[in-house]
Amino acid sequence: MDYYVAVLSIIGMHILLGLSVYVVAITGQLSFGQQGFYAIGAYLAGIGTALWGIHLLPAVLLGMTAAGVMGFLVGFPALRVKGLYLGVATFGFGEIVRLVFLNVRYTKTIGGKLVGPNGAEGFRHVSYIYDRGFTQAQYLAVIYTAVIIVAGFVYFLERSKLGARFRAVEEDEVAAAMAGINVTAVKVFAFTLGGFVAGLGGALFVHYSTYIDHQMVTLPLAVSSVIYPMLGGLGSFWGAILGAALLIFLTEGLRFLQEFRLVVYGALIILTMLFRPRGIIDEAMVLRVRAFLRRQVAPSA
């Protein structure tokens, strides 16, 4: 039972990572730096509860906001580069964040334990939820409350005119500008939003694991965050959710294959790219589902 709670918790936090890539990706910007925002959210929220003794909610909001502000700042230089170059630049940002946290020391001795970011030792003893007697299952509920709020927000964003503008910018920036869309504002806003969402994921993660260090926010995390929406599909936010759930279940379910499971993982990605370049849930599928739902609502039409 605990095992499934743990897997579901991980999926929840990775859904947030996937959604943070997704909201940026639908403006045509592929970010390999969301793990940087995740780390910012984790470290700051952890500092909030473990060192300053504030409650979980304000600490999470603090981590999230810091990551969002950083997303806003990263959004501007990101305007200058596209495609692969943007991927490399955003990954560079993620590495900068990681190396900063590798070198930050800000510790206090609390209850005989050295608490706080301690360079390469990492940040231990973020024990808020265990000190307060939360069970794993209760914390799972906290995580999914956050996931539902974020997914709901992205759902409404997607159906709004702003969401349609995101996709217009993705497809053709000149045509989007000619449709009166402020392309700069859309792209920077998307990065800000992505920062918030990834920061939230990190803030929840550090309280779940009680520990974070710089090795947790490296290239593998960047790549999986990007793969969730790309495999699950870029037609709808459900894609990022599906991708995260599918890949993590698969990783767990294929443990008997040991290292070979990564082959399955890679093959799956190649197959998707070949046969469904926009992922499993692509735009055409979204339209078919909507048409189907409309028919169910109004069978005579």
């Binding site: 497809e171 000619m178 055409a284 048409a291």
Partner: protein
Amino acid sequence: MLTIEKLSRNFGGIRALHRLDLEVQPGEIFAMIGPNGSGKTTLFNVVTGVFPPTEGRLWFNGREITRARTHEIVRLGIGRTFQNIRLFTRLTVFNNVWVAQRAADGRRGPRAERRRVDELLAFTRLGDKREELAGNLNFGEQRRLELARALATEPAMLLLDEPAAGMNYGEVRELIEDMRKLRQMGKTIFLIEHVMDLVMGVADRIAVLNFGQKIAEGSATDIQSDPRVIEAYLGGRKVDARNP
């Protein structure tokens, strides 16, 4: 309405536009013709802020737009269609038009906005394609959708970049009708075109561009008899079709 003064645009060593002066009057259909590579599309790109001019200045309705950004120029009232169609192919037909709508002064509620989109789709005869992906439309429909999208920004002036390219005779007739309707709606039209029937039939005034310079300007009859225009289109020598 649109005033262009000594406008130049260079790409490296190439002079795409050279000291061009132009004035488009409100309410007219103004056409620009010229051989391939004469700088017509470059002119539209400079007017809409896609790239800045090397030299010269531009005004629209008395406001200088020389260094303005594209979406600002659009909000001042210039709309444009593209020569090579540039739709949002993964958006629905409806959304292609909807994204271009602005309710800057809050005058329009969401419901009125949607009604306006449907009006524009009806005007461009795309009402029954509303929920399809724009990428699935045929060529003529895509061109009409570009027009609907440009109209959604409620422009006072429309820049049409070779709207008849690739159209058959019937479609060109429809396009001429549409342009006349647009003028009746009070739109000023600035047109770039290769299809001579269209230009001669519909334009109030025509300017001819060659190697980035304006070589003639006037009515259709003026242009057709201008020796510099004939030279630019047919080459240096007068050619007699019967005795080449």
